[in-house]
């Protein structure tokens, strides 16, 4: 097997389901204890490796733990047990336009958003034209982003994120942004990524796009890893498991 970009080992993640949550001091004092809760394991002993330069899909039904795993990969959640090791710089794209300030101009927001995503000012300046070009909002770049159409807003956010140029890119179903033309541009960008030997991990419900883009895939169900392997096989196995599989 080739080099490993991300290695996920025995990752488990627990959430507390609160029956009575004490978010006020009054309730904490009155009840004398902090809260009543029950543990829910969103991920149970998940482990697999993502090879360098591959495009890796995470599939599974709603509530299967895909997004939780993605958030663990993005270092937003920290797993209770197990570890995730990265081989290279990672960037996560869970939402586009995070931290945009509506009153600031597109230009100012590119710098703000870029630095939130971990780019230095120098990098952003160097990439500025590319970002603006990719987003297709040149004409409005000095307007406050609150006046942008929702499509423009998302496109600008996506353009910044895609230009972070990490070794490993983690993407949550954000592919469905913009019009057809923009989506084609994004798909091209992902292909370029791959050609440059970068790794992409994406979560999607669209089996067509996963099949089209990914080499390998992992199928999660109720927090457990069911199958990991080449994309086609994993997707077929997943589709077969669904009721009314033939329709898919």
């Amino acid at each position: 097997m080739s080099e490993v970009a991300v290695s996920i080992e025995h990752v488990s993640k627990k959430f507390r389901l609160y029956h009575e949550r004490n978010q006020s001091i009054k309730s904490a004092v009155m009840r004398g204890r902090r809260s009543v809760h029950e543990d829910f394991w969103a991920l149970k002993d998940v482990g697999f490796e993502v090879p360098v330069g591959s495009t890796f899909g995470l599939i599974g039904s709603n509530g299967s733990g895909k997004s939780t795993l993605l958030k663990c990969l993005a270092k937003i959640y920290y797993p209770e047990t197990g570890s995730i090791t990265y081989n290279g710089k990672i960037a996560a794209l869970l939402e586009v336009g995070s931290g945009f300030h509506p009153e600031l101009s597109g230009r100012e927001n590119i710098f703000l958003n870029g630095s939130i995503l971990g780019m230095s000012k120098k990098e952003i300046t160097a990439k500025f034209d590319e970002i603006v070009d990719f987003s297709g909002v040149e004409k409005f770049i000095d307007q406050p982003v609150k006046n942008y159409s929702s499509g423009m807003y998302v496109r600008l956010g996506f353009s910044v994120a895609i230009n972070v140029n990490p070794d490993i890119l983690v993407v949550d179903e954000v592919l469905a942004v913009g019009d057809t033309e923009f989506q084609a541009k994004c798909a091209q960008k992902f292909r370029d990524f791959k050609n440059q030997g970068r790794t992409v991990i994406l979560v999607s419900h669209s089996m067509t796009s996963v099949r089209e883009m990914c080499d390998s895939a992992a199928w999660l169900s109720h927090g457990e890893l069911v199958k990991v392997g080449p994309a086609d096989e994993t997707i077929d196995a997943y589709l077969d498991s669904l009721p009314g599989a033939s329709a898919a």
Binding site: F15, N22, Q23, S24, I25, K26, A28, K71, A74, K75, I76, Y77, Y78, A92, L94, E95, S98, G99, H101, E103, L104, E108, F111, L112, S115, I116, L117, G118, S120, K121, P144
Partner: protein, 278 residues
């Protein structure tokens, strides 16, 4: 050490977030940055009317500056306190106010409260600049003391940042904190000699003598308040134009360091759980 390195690496992000606050704050207002002066100015007018004109509070004249203007004397204490109070209250809400960011992007969370220190500090700098001009107009010789004023301002910023870090975490777990703290801040202001001179407290303290048969006086307890020291140092430098009392100055530094260390420690410990707890 690694944590410090990470925080240092996010200084550009800190700068950008601070700029976001500053630029976004007075967008689409006609008076812009002038608004940051209106609040302290309004308080100054009210307090001067009530406490100097009606209640006849008379602070001692500045020694050796010879200044004897209640409003100016008041501002030397009021501006630092307003800064402190704003940093604590805004910094405390900074994590809750950026839920979208915290839950979607990984970055050193500490930049959120710290950016508030930056943006409130920017306004404060502006206010203090105006105060210095006023002091000069009324004949105070402040210039040689300005470097020390800046040092004290930095110390107060560190102190405020420490408190804000602690409360930011507390506020995520208990949303009551913000309401609680706004009351505490009001009480705290009246427990600090801002609108009345500390000499009035000393008079009362002497009347009662040692508390509960000990040699500890009311004044001793009163002076535990770190803000009392800060206000004293600011007044000594700006209003009196003399070297600050070494003990006061040292205590400011110790308080600042202690608050920041504890704040950083608490914040660091709970940083990882923040996205979940929100």
């Amino acid at each position: 050490m690694r944590y410090l390195k990470e925080v240092l690496a996010s200084r550009e992000l800190l700068a950008n977030l601070t700029l976001r606050e500053i630029r976004g704050q007075y967008k689409r207002t006609i008076f812009g940055q002038l608004w940051s002066l209106v609040n302290p100015l309004a308080s100054m007018l009210v307090y001067t009317l009530v406490f100097a004109f009606i209640l006849r509070v008379e602070p001692e004249a500045g020694d050796p500056s010879g200044l004897d203007i209640f409003a100016v004397w008041l501002l030397c204490g009021l501006l630092p306190f307003a800064f402190f109070s704003n940093v604590v209250q805004q910094g405390m809400g900074s994590i809750l106010g950026n839920v979208g960011l915290v839950q979607k992007v990984y970055f050193a969370r500490i930049v959120l409260p710290l950016s508030k220190v930056g943006s409130v500090g920017y306004n404060w700098l502006f206010e203090m600049g105006v105060l210095v001009v006023v002091l000069v107009i009324f004949g105070a010789f402040v210039w040689p003391w300005l470097p020390l004023v800046v040092v004290t301002m930095v110390l107060l910023a560190i102190f405020a940042a420490g408190i804000a870090l602690m409360l930011a975490v507390a506020n995520v777990h208990f949303r009551d904190t913000q309401y609680f703290v706004s009351i505490i801040m009001q009480i705290w202001m009246y427990l600090t000699p801002i609108i009345y001179p500390i000499s009035l407290v000393a008079v009362q303290s002497d009347k009662y003598g040692g508390l509960f048969g000990t040699s500890v006086t009311i004044l001793d307890v009163y002076r535990i308040n770190p803000l009392e020291r800060f206000v004293a140092v600011f007044r000594q430098l700006l209003y009196d134009n003399r070297w600050p009392d070494p003990q006061d100055f040292l205590l400011c530094a110790i308080w600042a360091l202690a608050a920041f260390t504890v704040g950083l420690w608490i914040f660091r410990r709970s940083e990882k759980g923040l996205a979940e707890a929100l």
